[in-house]
């Protein structure tokens, strides 16, 4: 495979506004691909995995680069990983999202890739998806016909497939503020530090004294789509956070995921590792939330 050049030919468009981008997308539909950071799309163009007749560049759209604080946090989909990482640096509540971006690691990729692209690309391995799932994040999809806001849960419907229509652009990710006695963590295992994930696990806990009032668990690269593990969550919600119980929950997380059989990593390995990672992540989040 020649990765030196792109042999596929296409028309390039750099609309100045979101409105113009939507008009182009509405005109070309399935013949167009949106270019945000390019770290996935340019590779796909090289390998012939995507062969759009039109590429619509939304890299420079300022409308997609806002981040707002408040009771609901809204992140423009065009924000680079680096901007999101800097925004959440030092925050205990959203540590899981920070850690997921930190785990991507490569300086250059953080300067290129966007949080919207990470989700819209539809990869089951998207590192930001598990923490966002544990924040009950919602995403805004916009087209010329209007906009809709959906739960992130349900957005991915299969490997590299989402519910987005051909004429839609993902413009924003939002989630509500966590209470003060809450924290989150992200765990990842990969071949080497800067690699694509083998399996990931994000945990958000809300603590009430020694009781785990709410524990939200989500895993990546563990199923055809990034997923929550509701049965495991149910085991611990409302119960005291004790070592034995957390171990039981960890085993349930391992059972509940639906790992692929292909690739370098076996199902058994993923099931085993996700349990270990849940345990580590749970206790880290628990301690950050003030628990013992």
């Amino acid at each position: 495979m020649n990765t030196r050049l792109i042999s596929h030919e296409f028309e390039y468009h750099a609309p100045k506004t979101l409105q113009k981008a939507l008009e182009l997308l509405s005109r070309y539909g399935s013949e167009a691909k949106i270019l945000a950071g390019g770290t996935d799309l340019v590779g796909h163009l090289k390998f012939g995995k995507r062969t759009p007749a039109h590429v619509i560049d939304i890299k420079k759209l300022a409308e997609l680069k806002t981040i707002s604080k408040g009771s609901v946090i809204k992140i423009g989909a065009g924000n680079k990983f680096k901007a999101v990482q800097d925004f959440f640096a030092g925050r205990i509540d959203y540590a899981g999202l920070f850690e997921s971006i930190y785990s991507i690691g490569k300086t250059q990729v953080l300067n290129m890739g966007t949080i919207g692209g990470n989700l819209a690309n539809g990869s089951p391995k998207a590192d930001t998806a598990p923490p966002l799932l544990t924040y009950n994040a919602r995403i805004k999809l916009v087209s010329l016909n209007g906009e809709r806001t959906l739960d992130l849960k349900g957005f991915h419907i299969g490997p590299n497939t989402t519910v987005m229509a051909d004429n839609e652009i993902l413009t924003e990710i939002e989630f509500g503020a966590l209470p003060s006695n809450a924290s989150s963590a992200f765990e990842k295992t990969a071949r080497v530090g800067a690699d694509i994930s083998k399996v990931t696990c994000a945990v958000t806990v809300i603590r009430e004294g020694s009781v785990c009032k709410s524990c939200r668990i989500a895993c990546g690269a563990a199923a055809p789509v990034p997923m929550r593990t509701p049965r495991a969550e149910k085991l611990i919600n409302g119960k005291p956070a004790e070592k034995q119980l957390v171990e039981k929950v960890a085993l349930q997380v391992g059972k509940e995921i639906d790992p692929p059989t292909w690739g370098r990593t076996s199902q058994e390995y993923r099931r085993h590792m996700v349990a270990v990672m849940f345990t580590d992540g749970f206790w880290r989040a628990w301690k950050k939330a003030g628990g013992e």
């Binding site: 030196r4 792109i6 030919e9 390019g38 090289k46 590429v55 560049d57 300086t107 800067a194």
Partner: protein, 162 residues
């Protein structure tokens, strides 16, 4: 395929180029402009050899369509030394610490190392290793590179404290 006119400032010099939409920045820099210091290696965004600095931030030129950086200021390894040919302190440190063997990763390493020192004048070893995570070196085992960055940071400390 319609070509686009692209204005780039590379190492302080202005260029007006005609590029096709599917042309990669790495090839435009190496072949159209003729600066071969920027290296092509993996072509898939894993190794960092093709790193260039666009508008102040290191990016991968093998995963960047040249047409998308129209209007940008780009620094390549050729723009790092002083105009009189004397080396940048980090380049000097690379020579002093044996941070170079085959040299293929060096342009990317130097650009990313300078980026770190710009943002974090006194990084510890973990911070250095994290920042160069996107740059693969198959010769040196990284120790010389880490030492070079540390040495440059240490050499610049007194100046900053004055």
């Amino acid at each position: 395929m319609k070509k686009h006119t692209v204005h780039l400032t590379i190492n302080g010099e202005e260029y007006e180029l005609q590029v096709a939409p599917n042309e990669l920045l790495v090839n435009v820099i190496r072949e159209t402009v003729g600066m071969t210091g920027t290296k092509y290696a993996c072509g898939t965004g894993q190794c960092g050899a093709c790193t260039v600095v666009v508008d102040g931030e290191p990016i991968l030129s093998c995963l960047t369509l040249a047409v998308t950086v129209n209007g940008s200021e780009i620094t390549t390894i050729e723009g790092v030394a002083n105009p009189d040919g004397t080396l940048d302190p980090l380049q000097e440190a690379f020579l002093d610490t044996n941070a170079i063997q085959c040299g293929f990763c060096t342009p990317g390493m130097v650009l990313v190392g300078r980026d770190l020192l710009k943002k974090m004048p006194d990084p510890n070893e973990d911070q250095i290793r994290h920042h160069i995570k996107g740059n693969i070196c198959r010769c040196t085992g990284y120790n010389g590179i880490v030492r070079a960055i540390k040495k440059t940071a240490a050499a610049h400390k007194p100046q900053q404290e004055q």
